[in-house]
């Protein structure tokens, strides 16, 4: 044990250990991680936390205020469905959309950006010009059209949102790749005759990890926001399934008589976005120490 400690002390801290240390001294980020974990656990364990089903209607208790007695902790909606369970189930959809769509955009963005950056020259110019053109498109409107015309399908939401968000990722990754490819170890790989795409996969992409992690934590809340936006317009997930955006939409309709149906989903949505943003900021400060 002592030997290992001595060695690691001599070797100094790695980039990642250093970043971790900085991240854990950031109070806002740590608090956010704790809150987010609680939300995540609640969302995962939703069926065990309440005796009610997410789509069970109780005609006797429509729009009833929150009570502990009958386990309607957040009250019920206008159809007598338990809002506590619905909020948690809505969280499942919102978080899942956030994570899956971010992965989609990650995959496209990294492949595209790393290819453009690594090959450079004409290929780079053409590929990035295409990104510039797409960048100026009013995408939200096209996503709305897509949802209206081609059905309100959750997989379409994943694809549509993922397809918008890769543009930023591609730009960031390209910039990083441009500076990475001048490094000696890439030169060495080239000299050893490693083919282009293998260099990208084996040597470039792993070195992009820091930037990518920061970007992912900042993309997830954006995606959740887009999904909520669509659901708010009634274009996202369809009944009886729900998401935080859909719940806020329903809550906004009943707010004059049943304010709890707006407030609880709104708190969950805002709190989650808040935590992701704080963690993203904390990670950026931790991994990019030049601003200290």
């Amino acid at each position: 044990m002592t030997d290992i400690d001595a060695v690691s002390e001599v070797r100094g801290r790695s980039l990642w250990a250093d970043a971790r240390r900085r991240l854990f001294t950031n109070k806002a980020a740590v608090t956010s991680m704790i809150i987010l974990s609680i939300v995540a656990v609640m969302v995962l364990l939703a069926p065990f936390l309440s005796p009610h089903d997410f789509d069970a209607t109780d005609w006797e208790l429509m729009s009833s205020p929150p009570t502990i007695a009958n386990a309607h902790f957040f009250g019920t909606d206008s159809l007598g469905r338990d809002l506590f369970v619905r909020t948690l189930y809505g969280g499942r959809v919102s978080l899942m959309v956030g994570i899956v769509a971010t992965l989609v955009s990650l995959l496209i963005g990294i492949t595209y950006g790393a290819t453009a950056g690594y090959f450079g020259g004409k290929i780079d110019h053409l590929m990035m010009r295409f990104v510039d053109i797409l960048y100026a498109m009013p995408f939200m409107f096209f996503v709305i059209l897509l949802m209206v015309f081609f059905g309100r399908n959750i997989f379409l939401i994943f694809v549509a949102i993922g397809a918008i968000n890769w543009l930023d990722m591609a730009r960031i990754v390209r910039g990083q790749t441009l500076s990475l490819k001048r490094k000696e170890f890439i030169e060495a790989a080239e000299a050893a005759g490693v083919p282009g795409f293998t260099i990208i996969r084996r040597h470039i992409v792993p070195n992009l990890l820091g930037v990518v992690i920061v970007y992912v934590t900042l993309t997830i809340p954006q995606v959740i926001l887009v999904e909520s936006f669509l659901s708010f317009l009634g274009l996202g997930v369809q009944e009886p399934f729900t998401s935080w955006g859909a719940l806020v939409n329903e809550g906004a309709k009943d707010m004059e008589t049943a304010s709890w149906s707006l407030i609880f989903p709104a708190i969950f949505l805002a709190l989650t976005l808040f935590c992701f943003n704080f963690i993203g900021d904390g990670l950026r400060d931790a991994l990019d120490p030049k601003d200290r």
């Binding site: 709305i144 015309f149 926001l225 809550g251 805002a270």
Partner: protein, 306 residues
């Protein structure tokens, strides 16, 4: 400078063409037509309708016709609002949206820059932390959540302001939508200003200005503010796009007769021409605004080479 402006101007055309093309084919390839009703129309009437709106021609012909019409500034007749052309509908809705969006951006600029500058000047103080935390709240609460909450407090509980409607754009009717629309932008602009201000305050020319013995407010206002505002200027492009998108829900929530509402109604009613018209109109607006921002940036920042 002129050559640079011209180059940027040329660069905007492919985007515009792409917007028109995607909008056109997406709308046309969608299942379900604008005249789908509960009962099926007699074939003769269907044929007449199709003929009137040129829906019986091959798609490529329709596309060519549409491009030609747009080139002349004509978005065609609305399919749903009979007797109205899309141009008239846009003309009716846009002033409302422009007032909302314009006021929201102006408000966001004034408050955002002030807060950001104050936070930067008192870096790592309690003021700084509270401004930045508030900004984070502003970013994290989407405006479609903020809007109903504002309504709940100010219209339902306190009863100070009406719960919606336009009423010719009176102050009482527009104040809540404008606040809801501008809050996220206030937050972004405050964060941007703080970040760049901190960087600028560390630079040599600020040290020189202070060493000359200039009073602090002169240093800040005359020397630091202009370079610190450059990132805010370039953010104005995305901010416009965000405000335009946001106005779609805000107009819906507050029941305002703006362009965003026409868009949502048009999409739900499959009003092809209206939807395409609004998307293209917004596309042009965003492109033009980005162009202006680019040129403004080039004028303000002497380091930009063109």
């Amino acid at each position: 400078m002129l050559a640079f402006a011209f180059k940027r101007f040329l660069g905007a055309w492919p985007t515009l063409l792409l917007i028109i093309t995607v909008a056109f084919f997406m709308v046309r390839l969608a299942p379900g037509g604008p005249f789908d009703t509960e009962k099926t129309l007699p074939p003769e009437i269907q044929a007449n309708l199709d003929k009137k709106y040129h829906l019986d021609e091959p798609l490529v012909m329709q596309y060519g016709r549409y491009l030609w019409d747009i080139a002349r500034g004509d978005f065609g007749p609305s399919f749903q609002y009979k007797d109205y052309s899309v141009n008239e509908l846009i003309g009716a809705g846009f002033p409302v949206s422009l007032r909302l969006g314009g006021s929201a951006i102006l408000l966001a600029l004034i408050i955002g820059v002030t807060l950001g500058a104050i936070a930067a000047l008192r870096q790592n103080s309690r003021v700084d932390y509270s401004v930045m935390t508030t900004a984070m709240v502003g970013i994290s609460i989407p405006n479609f959540v903020m809007a109903p909450l504002l309504l709940l407090v100010f219209a339902v509980y306190l009863g100070w302001l009406p719960a919606g409607g336009w009423e010719g754009g009176s102050f009482r009717n527009t104040v809540l939508p404008i606040i809801a629309l501008s809050l996220p932008q206030v937050a972004y602009i405050a964060r941007l200003t703080r970040g760049s201000m901190i960087e600028v305050l560390r630079s040599n020319f600020i040290r020189t200005a202070r060493a000359k013995g200039l009073p602090e407010h002169t240093v800040i206002i005359r020397h630091a503010l202009k370079p610190a505002l450059l990132p805010v200027v370039s953010y104005l492009g995305p901010a416009t796009a965000a405000v335009i998108t946001g106005s779609v829900v805000i107009e819906q929530i507050f029941g305002l007769p703006g362009l965003g509402r026409y868009f949502v109604q048009g999409a739900l009613n499959r009003d092809y021409t209206l939807v395409m018209g609004v998307v293209i109109f917004y596309g042009v607006l965003i492109i033009v605004f980005n162009l202006i921002v680019d040129l403004l940036y080039a004028v303000l920042d002497p380091r930009v080479r063109y």
